[in-house]
């Protein structure tokens, strides 16, 4: 036991690998938030009036809202006037090739092990790299353009495709949806936009990597994905952030709209800086992600591997409006040291014969708290709705917490809703069995945790799955008891 404790301790005490920051020239505006700041952001981005109005409306609503306090999280008060709401690399880059990109930036990506070039060449992934809010480089744009697919930065989309933006922005996540979504709507700097036309199957995985970079800047990403009738797309989002002492705020919004028979798969590996082993620093991650299955037989599937952030508040959701539409949520959330996570999903069944599946695997280690919170709601008209939820929690060590808060609200008799949850500690007999075959406790824990999370990891695209597995192992290093 003692030996195990020791190993677990060693494993948990491993420092964040990706903690470094690069010195770019930043174009920032002073900290604080008021209507003028919002006007400046909008003006800097040369936005049309409807965007400014969208932002101002959101800001006015936000001022009347209060930060939600129902989550199982302990968050020190956040001073929203101490945050810088806009930072962009000074030289607005419009590069033809990677050679022109700031070497510092490339170096950063190299340290992360996600070199753009290799990504581009080896995996065939088009990468839209977002560093501190402004899109720097989009690759494979031409290939995509041939198919009529639009994949670009959000600002670019505002300029080039204002009609699409005006029609769909705020459809999944209205400005008043919640405190953080309202804040994002008011100040979001940039993000990604994706439109898949009717009948098109996107030939490659689309991907963005987010990073928080400038000291004291909040990160307010906005992603909008529209899948038109009979289209199909798989979207990857990965996050790593450099080490910072003060807590950084991240309040992103992701909106997905799936029209008739469209199929959208959204995968995330989130590895923002979780703070050090004493709970100092780390990212506050308050994210609103929601997809609407507007069309009949459409499908939205969320897969997430969450290992980072000091605080995670995130509920990727599906509104199943179209008849026969399908929602999926697959999640692995790992917390260690002093991390806190309150994450889960909402499945709102509106259309007939709608189906949803929830698989959540929580892993708590160190002194962390890990909560699943999920809502399954069946409206009166949602005949034959089906939901199956499985929420498992694994505890590593006796100082952490694992919590489960499902909400099930059913108003239709022909629906069948099933929820199961279990909580248990990592099996000592499993560890011993591995030991007896010559496998060290640390490797055994990594193996068992990966096995436990496998059902979800299997849903990730191949290249992501490997990264996620490594991440689980790294995040656990030093942690079981």
């Amino acid at each position: 036991m003692e030996e195990q404790d020791k190993i677990l301790h060693e494993v948990t005490s491993k420092e964040y690998e990706f903690g470094f920051s690069s010195d770019f020239d930043m174009d920032t505006i002073p900290k604080g938030l008021n209507e003028d700041v919002i006007r400046v952001i909008s003006a800097k981005k040369e936005e049309p009036e409807f965007m400014l109005n969208f932002r101002l409306e959101a800001f006015r609503k936000w001022q009347k809202m209060t930060m939600p306090d129902w989550a199982y999280l302990k968050i020190p008060p956040i001073d929203f006037q101490e945050i810088i709401y806009y930072a962009a690399p000074k030289k607005k880059p419009q590069y033809e090739s990677l050679d022109e990109i700031d070497p510092d930036l490339l170096e950063t990506f190299n340290k992360l092990g996600i070199p753009l070039e290799e990504q581009k060449i080896l995996s065939g992934v088009a990468v839209d790299a977002v560093i501190d809010s402004v899109s720097v480089k989009t690759t494979f744009k031409e290939t995509l353009a041939e198919k009529g697919i639009i994949f670009c930065s959000f600002s670019e989309a505002v300029k080039e495709h204002p009609d699409l933006i005006q029609k769909y922005l705020g459809m999944s996540v209205p400005v008043t949806d919640n405190f953080f979504a309202a804040l994002n709507s008011a100040v979001f700097s940039d993000g990604s936009f994706c439109y898949i036309p009717k009948g098109v199957k996107c030939p490659m995985e689309l991907s963005t990597y987010f990073r928080i970079n400038a000291s004291g800047t909040g990160q307010f990403e906005r992603t909008l994905i529209i899948a038109d009738d009979d289209s199909q797309v798989s979207y990857l989002e990965g996050c790593t952030a450099p080490m910072r002492d003060e807590n950084q705020l991240h309040a992103a919004v992701v909106e997905i709209i799936a029209l008739d028979r469209a199929n959208v798969k959204y995968s995330t590996v989130q590895n923002w800086y979780p703070g050090d082993k004493n709970g100092k620093g780390g990212v506050y991650n308050f994210v609103t992600k929601r997809g609407i299955c507007r069309g009949e037989s459409s499908k939205i599937s969320w897969t997430q591997v969450e290992t980072g952030s000091a605080v995670t508040w995130k509920y990727p959701s599906c509104i199943l409006m179209g008849d026969n539409s399908v929602g999926e949520f697959n999640s692995v959330a790992l917390t260690n040291n002093y991390q806190q996570a309150d994450t889960g999903t909402k499945m709102i069944h509106i259309g007939k014969n709608t189906k949803s599946t929830i698989i959540s695997k929580g892993i708590s280690a160190g002194k962390s708290d890990n909560a699943y919170r999920g809502l399954v709601k069946v409206m009166p008209g949602a005949s034959n709705a089906r939901n199956f939820s499985q929420c498992d929690s694994l505890l590593l060590g006796s100082n952490c917490g694992a919590h489960t808060f499902p909400y099930i609200e059913v108003a239709n008799k022909s629906s069948i809703i099933e929820h199961e949850a279990t909580t248990s500690k990592i099996g000592e007999d499993q560890i011993f069995y591995c030991n007896q075959r010559g496998i060290s406790t640390e490797d055994a824990i990594g193996m068992i945790v990966n096995g436990y999370a496998k059902e979800v990891l299997n849903k990730l695209p191949m290249e992501f799955a490997v990264e996620a597995q490594k991440l689980l192992q790294i995040s656990l290093e030093g942690s079981v008891g």
Binding site: L395, T404, K413
Partner: protein, 454 residues
């Protein structure tokens, strides 16, 4: 409910005003043990007020409506013009119990003497015993309820004057269950505040059955609190059978403090009623104890039943097992919140919970919120919840064997309910509940015969 919007503040203020107005009446004739808690409890109530939708713990039950109505508060004992012992005879076959009657929250003055109670057992009126033998209560009264943040528990403490009291001294085993029949009767809308206290010493055995009945077809609201202290090594059963008319509303908060190596069984059967909210808190405060917590409800029309449980595993090596089942018909609404909280050092905890619900119509609604809060690692905890219809495959199988659809449905529903019923450890009561459930499912009046009177 075409009620006009109720001003939340006004609802709560009504109770504050009533309290001020009746302050001296509340103290009159009550033991100082009760009176000393009133002011502080009223303050606690006023801080939150009558819980509305915004209160996470009352998310699925709007109490402002029933608390907002005008009631006559029964703040002093009222003599009854008939002999309830004759009017009311519980006729459950073979159910041999010590029976006591309470009327509108008060211990009935003409209760028959309980014959044959073992020596040292004290059973009777909380008001009387708290005045005459305060030493029996002083270390127990409000010791569990005061830990609650629920404003309605505080409201009960502020207004409570009487209720049922039971004391079972160490080592005593009660051969027969004690049956407490709570009657509601009156000419106009009535609000009752009943306070029960059950203390069982170490190595005791006791079974208590609460039966809630209405004798008049009036609007009524009960805000009741029961505290049960289960001694070390004791085996205690507490059953509640709710069989009231549809205008009868109640909030019942029960607190169980369980010592070590003891065994508690709590069963709630809700057959009839208007709006019913049952709060149940079990604190497992000693090692190697077991708690079985069971409940079922059958609702129709516009009934509303909300069961809220909180099982606190404060000590290691305990087992809790919860099973709640609801069958919802017509426009009824059901809610279940089941919380399991395993404290930091409560290792080797086994805590299980299941909630199964059947919706019979498209206008019935079920909300369920099972919760696990786990702060120890060497535990086995699980919860499962389902909402759906009866098993259609099983139904088809039975029909394919020649059983007509209606009978097949009934059989399946009975089987569904029986899983809870079978946990009852009083045989005659178990049979009776099975029978009542069957009648209830067939749509026949499922009242006990003697409760048919108006």
């Amino acid at each position: 409910m075409t009620q006009t919007r109720i001003n939340k503040k006004a609802v709560s203020e009504k109770y504050s005003e009533l309290y001020k107005e009746k302050r001296s009446l509340l103290d009159e004739g009550s033991s100082p043990l009760l009176n000393r808690m009133r002011d502080v409890s009223m303050k606690r109530f006023e801080q939150v007020g009558v819980p509305g939708f915004k209160n996470e713990d009352y998310k699925y039950t709007n109490l402002e409506r029933v608390f907002g109505k005008e009631y006559r508060h029964v703040l002093a004992y009222e003599t009854v013009d008939v002999d309830l012992n004759e009017v009311f005879q519980c006729d459950v076959p073979q159910l041999d119990t010590y029976t006591v009657l309470l009327i509108n929250g008060w211990y009935y003055a003409r209760n028959l003497q309980l014959e044959g109670l073992p020596e040292g057992v004290v059973a009777g009126s909380l008001k009387q015993i708290s005045n005459e033998q305060p030493e029996l209560l002083e270390n127990y009264l409000n010791r569990q309820a005061a830990l609650s943040n629920d404003p309605l528990v505080a409201l009960n403490t502020a207004f409570a004057k009487d209720g049922f009291f039971l004391y079972v001294p160490e080592g005593v085993k009660l051969e027969k269950p004690i049956q407490v029949i709570n009657l509601t009767r009156g000419q106009e809308a009535t609000f009752s505040t009943q306070r029960n206290l059950i203390i069982t010493g170490a190595k005791t055995e006791a079974k208590v059955i609460f039966c809630d009945h209405t004798l008049s077809s009036i609007d009524c609201l009960g805000n009741n609190v029961t505290e049960v202290f289960v001694g070390d090594g004791a085996v205690v059963d507490v059953y509640t059978i709710q069989n009231q008319n549809n205008k009868s509303n109640s909030v019942n908060s029960s607190f169980f403090k369980v010592g070590e190596k003891s065994n508690l069984l709590s069963g709630v059967a809700c057959l009839h009623g208007g709006l019913i909210r049952n709060n149940l808190v079990v604190s497992l405060d000693g090692e190697h104890s077991e708690a079985g917590v069971f409940g079922m409800s059958f609702t129709d029309k516009r009934q509303h039943v909300d069961n809220f449980t909180n099982i606190l595993h404060n000590k290691a090596n305990c087992l809790s097992n919860q099973l709640y089942k609801n069958v919802l018909d017509e426009d009824s609404v059901g809610a279940f919140t089941g919380r399991i909280h395993v404290a930091r050092d409560a290792q080797k905890t086994n805590a299980f919970q299941r909630n199964n619900n059947v919706l019979l119509t498209d206008t019935a609604k079920m909300n369920t919120k099972p919760q696990l809060i786990i702060d120890a690692d060497d535990v086995k905890c699980s919860h499962g919840a389902t909402v759906g219809q009866i098993d259609l495959d099983a139904l088809f199988y039975m029909r394919a064997r020649g059983i007509n659809e209606n009978d097949a449905r009934m059989m399946l529903m009975n089987a569904f309910a029986h899983e809870v019923v079978q946990e009852i450890r009083v045989e005659a009561l178990r049979d009776r509940i099975d029978e009542l459930v069957e009648k209830r499912l067939k749509g026949e009046l499922a009242k006990c015969h003697s409760c048919d009177i108006n």
